[in-house]
Symmetry: C2
Subunit: 330 residues, 2 copies
Amino acid sequence: MAMSTEAKPYIIDACQYCNWSPEILGQLREGGVDAISVTICYHEDFRETVENLIDWNRMFERHGDLIMPGRTAADIAVARKAGKTAVFFASQNPSCIEDDIGLVEVLHQLGLRVMQLTYNNQSLLGTGCYEQTDSGITRMGREVIKEMNRLGMLIDMSHSAERTTLETIDLSARPISITHANPNFWHEVVRNKSDAVLKALTARGGMLGLSLYPYHLKGGSECAVESFAGMARRLADMIGIDNLGIGSDLCQGHGNGIIEWMRVGRWTKAPPTMGLGAPVLPPQPAWFRDNRDWGKIRAGLVAHGFTEADAGKILGGNWHRFFAASFEAA
Amino acid sequence: MAMSTEAKPYIIDACQYCNWSPEILGQLREGGVDAISVTICYHEDFRETVENLIDWNRMFERHGDLIMPGRTAADIAVARKAGKTAVFFASQNPSCIEDDIGLVEVLHQLGLRVMQLTYNNQSLLGTGCYEQTDSGITRMGREVIKEMNRLGMLIDMSHSAERTTLETIDLSARPISITHANPNFWHEVVRNKSDAVLKALTARGGMLGLSLYPYHLKGGSECAVESFAGMARRLADMIGIDNLGIGSDLCQGHGNGIIEWMRVGRWTKAPPTMGLGAPVLPPQPAWFRDNRDWGKIRAGLVAHGFTEADAGKILGGNWHRFFAASFEAA
């Protein structure tokens, strides 16, 4: 397929959390990935999140030939021109702002562009998807939504409970995102999303990033790309093609301990029951082992009736447009 | 009234937050106060709470003739014998444990004996009384209740929403407290409590500390001691005499800024609407200006038909028994 560099659609992944190494960074380049949004906080407080940012500063310093910091959508074109991957910062938990609304702007100044209002549990802002009761957005949550809207920090509700998600879609003056989840109509689990959420999200201009994490896939690690592409087809028919992207949730290079930590954090002395079995990092599906496999997703989508142009939107074009609209100050 | 030192009932206040000075500490002695529970955290995180404990360490060092640290109920007798006031530590917010269940034991080791599961807002543990929606106890909340029960840290729901309070009464293996609030049947405000809560609390052996803070009093600063005593009489008829104490919520020596900080903390950029008007520290009622006035409360209760023995239970006897049961490890 002959396309000019200008015309070639972007490849953008809205959610990765790898155990970053020169090898994995090299795979980003091999796969032609223009931008990734990386998790810089799961359970960390502000100071610990800053420590993760220090690690990233070192990484940019050492591997400036492969990656560069991403702050605006325009950085993605800069990165492509330089043959690098732009790295945007995202937090999966508002633990990084602790109980301090002033830390939203401080973290924005440090490069944070995406933040979940909850991880799995109740946060100070809203309810996570594994709580028994979902009370929606709190007093502090309303204030933080306004502040994120003002600054141009994208709201992400991937791990939030349904009512909290629907309220946020309404309360936010700007479109929000679910960066990494799949529809429940395809594979019904706590972390995937109802039709109601998907329709409300996209009706307001919000984006869904399809997840490639085995727990979110029908058939788990055995999921076939045909099944995934079929789900994307049905979804595009339901909510349109312009609000779909990928948020792979790729957790490459970690041991199983990382999964236990994600579930347990510091909030419990005993591992919780989550209906997910032992805390084990499942193998990736054969068609997305790592960042070298983006062509296989593209091929799967095209084989399932998507045009090249539409496949390009899903693989990155939509996120590029959405990042441009989301990361500017109000 | 001639009583031996042994027989004289204890005076114990389950909630004070003064701007501590030698003058106010001296008033505790003038008033014959045997023990107070002082707030060491409203919005502080762990490190900031430790800073408040450092202030208390200095206070104990400088004013060891007036006060001593309280850790067990037995310390109250020790304090009386030495002519001092025992000072117990309480937190009005679980912000001091941040998101770390391990900090419950650490703070217990540092002397914390009472902790509210919420202040006014949603916490990581449960819902505060000023939230629009009350979702009860969270996943982390269940774990923290177990940990507080194990260690002998008393649960306090003074600032919690109704469902969250009722669930905690059920979930806790040990009786809990509402250290500073009044009944809504007397003065209906967000911070006072329904009959349902008061009955459930005391049916399980829990304690209510009657508040002397003007916003919680019928008539505010103009409230007469007769009205207060009449409320106590009605309450004693409803829930019995053995589960009533005083938690004055005395905030002596502060400027109005302290009230704004209590409401705003760090969670909002704009002062919230709370139906409470401007953030002003109201004048104390004439019959409880400061710690020298405990005799006036006693006189008011006796004038309203309480026996001396029953007035003594309310002024401290009940808290003494309850502290003894609550501050031992399970």
